[in-house]
Symmetry: C2
Subunit: 367 residues, 2 copies
Amino acid sequence: MNEGNFVTPFAQRFQMRVPVVQAPMAGGATTPAMVAAVSNAGGLGFLAGAALTPEKIASEVAAIRALTDRPFGVNLFVLDPASPDDATVRRALDAIDPLRADLGLPPGRALERYAPDFRAQLETLIELRVPVAGFTFGLLPAADVERLHANGQYVIGTATHVAEGLAWRDAGADAIAAQGAAAGAHRGTFIGPFEDALVDTMVLVPQLADATGLPVLAAGGIMDGRGIVAALALGAQAAMMGTAFLTCRESAIPEVWKTRVRGMSDTSTTVTRAITGRHARGIRNPLMQRLSETADNIAPYPVQNALTQELRQNAGRAQNGDYLSLWAGQGAPLGRSRAEGLGAAELMAQLEQEWLAAAERVAAFTR
Amino acid sequence: MNEGNFVTPFAQRFQMRVPVVQAPMAGGATTPAMVAAVSNAGGLGFLAGAALTPEKIASEVAAIRALTDRPFGVNLFVLDPASPDDATVRRALDAIDPLRADLGLPPGRALERYAPDFRAQLETLIELRVPVAGFTFGLLPAADVERLHANGQYVIGTATHVAEGLAWRDAGADAIAAQGAAAGAHRGTFIGPFEDALVDTMVLVPQLADATGLPVLAAGGIMDGRGIVAALALGAQAAMMGTAFLTCRESAIPEVWKTRVRGMSDTSTTVTRAITGRHARGIRNPLMQRLSETADNIAPYPVQNALTQELRQNAGRAQNGDYLSLWAGQGAPLGRSRAEGLGAAELMAQLEQEWLAAAERVAAFTR
C-alpha cells in the first residue's frame, strides 16, 4: 500500500496503517502497554474500562498517553446500578460457596457494590477526552452521544444483530462493532434473547454495513491476515481482534489461562451465563460446568459476576484453570502457531504482513 | 480474470469460471433444471439425492445430463438402515398426531421404510458415474472412497469441525465441504455433540484448510459476492451456497417457504432436532415450536423425519407455512434485494459480477 493511503475511511480517520482494532477485553488482558503497542504499530488499541473505577480508568489512560501519541479507545458496559434482593444473592451464594470451599475460601457474602458506577465512568471518559469511546451491553442515550461528539470524541456501539445496529445508528453512533457469534467473552446483546443473536460474523458484517451505512468493525473469529481480508471483503472497515491479543506478553491474565487458550480446539468453547449472569463465550471447565448445574440460582449481571470474582481471583493467583473464567473466542486455535509470549507489536507486524499477502492473493484473482 | 485461468485448483478441476458450488438441499429445492443451470453458468450444480430412491436418482441424473455436458454432483446422507422399536415410534406419533389433526389428517402409523437404502443409493452413483459424489451425516468407509476413485469420481465429505475434516482426509476424500454454523438445514455433525460443532464459517474454513491440506468449500452465510471473496480470502477454494438458490425460480419448494425466507431477519432462524430427529437450521414456526415442546418424544433421524413427512407435504400443498419445515441459512436476508423468482442462471451471472467487483475492491488495498 502506498504511504499515506489508508484502506478505509475508518482507517484514514485514525491513521491506521493496519486495519486492526484490538478489542477491549475485561479481565486484565488490555493493559496500557498492550493498548499503546497496538496503536503505535498502526492499529487502534482499546482499553477495557468496564471493570475499572473512574480513578483507575484515569490512571490507565495516563499510562497509555505516556506510551503513545496516537489515538486509542476505552470501552464501557452500559449498565444500570444493581440492587439485588437478598434472596437472589443468597441463592447465588448457595451455588458458589461449595466452589469457594474447594479453594479454602469462607462462604461468600452480599457486597456493597456490584460494579463501578457507569455514569461516573462515562464522565471520566468525557473529562479525559478519550479519543474513541466504545459501548457494550446497552444503548447510550442520544444526549450522551451528543456530549461525546461535542467533546470531539468518536463513539462506537456494539451490535450482535441488525436491530441493535439500527438502534446505535439512531442514537448517533459513529461506527458499529459487529460482534459475531464466534467472539470470545461477553455477548453484547441488548435487544431480544441472546440465543437468537448468535449471528455468524460472515452474516452479520455485510448486513450491518448495508443496514446502517456506518463503518462496521468485524469481530468474532478473526485471528490472522486471512480473517482481516475476509472482514474487509464483507464490507467491514477494520477487523476487531481480541483473542489474538489475549495470549500476548502484555496481556495480564493468569498464565494458565493463556496456556488453556493455546491448547484449545475449535470445539472447546461454549456460551454460558453461569459465571457472570450474562452470556459469554469461554473454554469449558469445571467452574462453568458446576455453576451451570444450578442454573436457577444464577443472579443477573453484574451481581453474579461480582459474587464469583473473589473465587476466580484466588484461582488466578494459584494458576488453577479449573476455577477461572476462561473467556476465549472460537477461533483461538488459529493463533496456536504464533510464538508463545509474542509481544503485541510483533503480532501487529505479523498481521500487517499477513493481511497484505492475503489481499495480494485475492488481487491475483482479478488478473 | 483471463480466459482459461481459474481461481483455484478446485475451480480448475471442474472448469468453474465462477467459484460457486450450489449446495445440495434436500426437500425439493435442487431440481435438475437448477443443477444444470448452475453448472452451465460456470459453477458446480449439486443434486440432493438423500431423500430419493435409486430409480429417482437415476432419472434426475438423466434429466441433468440432458441439460448440460458439464460436471455436477449428487449428495447423499451416510446412514445405517433404521429399525426403530414400537415404543419410539408410538411416542413420536403421540406428539405429531395433534398437528396432523389440525390439518385434517388421521393419526399417523409406523412405516415400512424410513429412508431410502444408502448402500443402494451409493451403488447408483457409481453405476451412473456421477462426476462428483458428496456425503453428509457420516463418514464413508475408505473402501467405498476407493471404489469411487477407481471409477473416476470425485469425493467431497462434509465437516462441521476439524476432527471431522481429518476423518474425511484419512478416508481418502478429495475435498471438504466446511459447514459453518450459519448454514441452513441439517447439520452434518458426526463426531461429538452438535452443540459443540456450531463453528463459524470464519473460523472453520481456515482451520480445515490448514489441518487437512485439501480443497475446502466454504458453506454457511455466503449470499453474495462479498461472501464469495471472504471465503476465498479465508483459504476456501470455492463458496458453497444453498440459501441463495433456495428462492430461485427452479427451486421446487412451496411458494410460501420462499416467501418466508424472503421475509426473515437475521435472528429468525434457530437449530432444532424436533422436526426430523437431527439438528437442522430453519425459520421458527409453529411446527418447530410445538414439536420442540415434547422433546422427549422425538425419534432419531430418519424416523422422525419420515413420521412428520406427510404432515409437511400436506402443509406444502396447502401453502401453509406454519406446518412446514422452513429450512434456511442465517444469511438469507442478504438475498432479499434480489428479484423475486430470479432464475439460477441469472443469479450466477449476478454472483460472477459481484465477486469480481468485491475482489477488485480488495485488490485496490494492495496498490
